[in-house]
């Protein structure tokens, strides 16, 4: 809406390609190098959280084992992956595909857009089918306790290719006094914790909990906030009055108290924590979207759409939502930072993710519990990881907010 008459561009072949509002905004964020670095860092952590089953595990990719019939080739790592891992790979590959396809088609006209949609959908279907068959065909062995590393050492196996980090998140060194609370060494790059588990492996696995809970909970909160905010803003009147009272009531209970209340009642599985953070975090989004919709509702093109007899959902979600979504998405960046912080705080307090599932908060608690000895080298990595990811989300949020500020938009 910042461009004067995008239709004119279609008719005149000369001049720069039309830039949408979002490409302007993204161009503005990507300019400060700091925000660029932060976006890359968030991408890296996301990548790690998706691919961690391939990076940090004791299972080898390929191994040849001696049996009565001679050497047999096995794939223990593939057999160890769960459906959830495959779903993560599929989602990550699809997202990467969409980003690359968008990069390749810089000028999306109608035909290209359709082609893009076709590529996206077919990529999704293909990867779903491939992943499904892989899950179905592979011999699934979740409780594979074989110690392949000692097999290689003793000569019972050969030609093994191991993952870069040879410990899973719950695998302990054989318990002895030398194995627990080790300082960083060549074998354990970040040392071991009080149960003799590799800290680096647990750090990487914990990124999965943090990012998973952060993104899923904020997706739930966004959906709820958009639904409530859209209804309040579009219909106004009694919807608005009741909706705003509801928002005020939910906001009046301090978020952390509300979350603890929900956790005490509904339990604390990972899925439940995602839902709880989503259900308690939608009010800000609803507020922002309501304000935007109240403004947009009176614009000419909405009046025209209504006069043209378009169905309600089309007016709301096709015409109004894309123009009102920006401030909501800006606050989503801060919401992500908040969700990651709250998840780690819950785990730190011991009412979050259940052990042995690693979480940065839980690792901090294990390292710095006042009643036990303080191991600073165990408290450092999770604290720094938490700080960096929260800082990255906040910086991106600030950059986004500056970028959509109409005063600074050229």
């Amino acid at each position: 809406m910042t461009e004067a008459g995008p239709l004119l561009y279609r008719d005149t072949p000369v001049g720069p390609p039309p830039r949408t509002y979002w490409s302007l905004v993204l161009g503005k964020i990507m300019r400060p190098w700091l925000a660029k670095v932060c976006v890359c860092y968030i991408g890296l952590v996301l990548l790690i959280s998706i691919t961690v089953p391939l990076i940090a595990t004791s299972k080898p990719y390929v191994i040849q084992i001696r049996t009565a019939r001679g050497w047999v080739t096995r794939y223990p790592l593939l057999a160890d992956l769960t459906t959830r891992d495959y779903l993560g790979f599929i989602a990550g590959a699809t997202a990467a595909g969409i980003v690359i396809a968008r990069r390749l088609t810089r000028r999306p006209d109608m035909l290209r857009q359709r082609r893009l949609r076709f590529i996206t959908v077919s990529a999704l279907i293909c990867s779903a089918v491939l992943g499904g068959t892989a899950v179905a065909l592979l011999h699934h062995n979740r409780f594979d306790g074989t110690d392949y590393q000692s097999m290689v050492k003793s000569g019972a196996a050969r030609d093994a290719i191991f993952a870069p980090i040879r410990w899973g998140y719950a695998e302990m060194e054989p318990l002895s006094q030398n194995a627990i609370n080790q300082l960083p060494s060549w074998q354990h790059w970040l040392g071991t914790d009080r149960s003799g588990r590799d800290v680096l492996s647990r750090m990487l696995w914990a990124s999965r909990v943090a990012m998973g809970i952060g993104f899923v909970s904020q997706a739930i909160a966004l959906t709820l906030g958009i639904l409530v905010g859209a209804l309040m803003g579009y219909f106004g009147g009694i919807f608005d009055l009741l909706g705003m009272r509801l928002v005020e009531m939910v906001e009046a209970i301090p978020t952390f108290f509300l979350i603890l209340t929900f956790i005490a009642i509904f339990g604390r599985s990972i899925l439940m924590i995602m839902v709880i953070l989503g259900v308690t975090g939608w009010t800000g989004y609803a507020r922002f979207l309501r304000a935007e919709f109240l403004r947009i509702r009176q614009l000419d093109y909405i009046v025209a759409a209504r006069a043209g007899g378009l169905p309600l959902w089309r007016i709301l979600f096709r015409h109004m939502l894309p123009n009102g979504l920006t401030p909501v998405l800006v606050s989503a960046s801060f919401g992500l930072a908040g969700a990651v912080t709250i998840e780690s705080s819950l785990s730190y307090l011991g009412v979050g993710v259940r052990p042995p599932t690693p979480s940065w908060g839980g690792m901090l608690n294990a390292a710095g519990n006042p009643s036990t000895v303080f191991h600073w080298f165990e408290a450092l990595p999770p604290g720094i990881a938490l700080f960096l990811i929260v800082l990255a989300f906040n910086i991106v949020g600030e950059a986004l907010r500056d970028a959509i500020d109409p005063k600074s938009l050229s």
Binding site: R245, L246, E248, M249, V250, E251, A252, I253, P254, T255, F256, F257, L258, L260, T261, F262, I263, A264, I265, F266, A337, T341, S344, S345, Y348, L349, G350, V351, G361, L364, N365, A367, G368, N369, P370, V373, F374, W376, A379, P382, G383, L386, F387, V390, L391, N394, I395, E398
Partner: protein
């Protein structure tokens, strides 16, 4: 003014009652609370506490079932609960075997004092900081303060707290601060001054942990509102008539930038209350946050629902104070 205050208080009641309704509805969703006696988190309670829960449940069921043996409808249960709250009866804690009202009254002052001190520190740092950033906008001080407060805002309390207690309150490293509680073990022999300094020594780390994260948001708002007022006509007039820049800043600009500072007190209070759960756990302070944590851990539902209610009431009360202060500073604001 009095008219306004009365109207504002009356407007607070529908929100408060709606909130009791939400809390009641959420607590009612707890599985098996009134259908089976033993479902108060088996395994987390000791034998005595489980017995107490059982007893409380039986009493409650006697209360909830009328003479014909039919369960009393939820609506009546809800109003019954409201009535008991109005009489100051919040139920009996399962974990502590004490009336919740007594527990809350014991622990509320601790949390309130720590939060109030943190709030004062936040304002003492953020307001001058934001003012300086606005005066030197775009220059080094502005950027350094902006980035510094954002970094502080992003530092997780759990990390700062455990590092502080691990290094600064640990006989192995630096034993500068006490690691737990609010007082030394024996306070009876102390003079008043000694008592206060001992208290200050104990709350230094908790208050620092609570307050450092709050600078960023307030400072940003203060900077924004000062910037807005620095380039107005009245500022130029004041400068033109020969007032020194400091007088213009401290008198003319500050008076007009007060409003956002007042509003933000109301927004900071819920965050501080939430943060005190973590800080009180780390530093073993027997306040409201720690009570909430203990209650969650033991699934002590009577305490949990009272805590949600009390914290919400505190938040609403702080909103009320903020609105009144707003009205006092800027009489143009009406509530129609």
């Amino acid at each position: 003014m009095i008219n306004y205050i009365i109207r504002r208080i009356l407007l607070m009641f529908p929100t408060l009652i709606g909130m009791t309704f939400i809390i009641f509805a959420v607590i009612r969703m707890a599985p098996g609370l009134t259908t089976a006696g033993g479902t108060f988190a088996p395994g987390m309670l000791g034998a005595h506490q489980a017995q107490l829960a059982e007893k409380q449940f039986m009493e409650r069921r006697l209360h909830l079932v009328n003479r014909e043996g039919k369960p009393i409808p939820l609506v009546i249960q809800y109003f019954d609960w409201l009535g008991r709250i109005a009489n100051g009866d919040l139920g009996t804690s399962i974990k502590f075997s004490e009336p919740v009202t007594k527990l809350v009254l014991q622990r509320l002052p601790v949390t309130l004092v720590i939060n109030a001190i943190s709030l004062v520190i936040i304002y003492l740092v953020a307001v001058p900081g934001g003012m300086l950033a606005a005066v030197y906008h775009g220059r080094f001080i502005d950027r350094a303060f902006g980035i510094g407060s954002l970094v502080l805002y992003s530092l997780p309390i759990i990390w700062v707290g455990s590092m502080a207690i691990g290094f600064l309150a640990n006989p192995e490293y630096l034993n500068w601060f006490p690691s737990a509680g609010l007082h030394a073990t024996n306070t009876s022999h102390m003079s008043y001054f000694q008592y206060v300094s001992d208290y200050a020594w104990h709350i230094t780390l908790p208050v620092l942990c609570l307050s450092y994260g709050g600078f960023a948001y307030l400072a940003k708002q203060v900077r924004g509102s000062y910037l807005e007022n620095l380039f107005t006509d009245f500022t130029r007039t004041a400068r033109a008539k020969g007032l020194p820049p400091s007088a213009v800043l401290l008198r003319h600009v500050t008076q007009n930038s007060l409003l956002p500072m007042i509003t933000i007190i109301g927004m900071t209070v819920p965050g501080l209350l939430g943060g005190s759960v973590i800080v009180e756990k780390i530093f073993s302070i027997e306040g409201m946050g720690r009570l909430m944590y203990q209650a969650t851990y033991a699934r002590d539902l009577p305490v949990i629902q009272s805590m949600a209610l009390v914290s919400a009431a505190i938040t609403l009360f702080s909103y009320l104070l903020v609105d009144i202060a707003y009205h006092a500073v800027d009489p143009r604001v009406t509530y129609d």
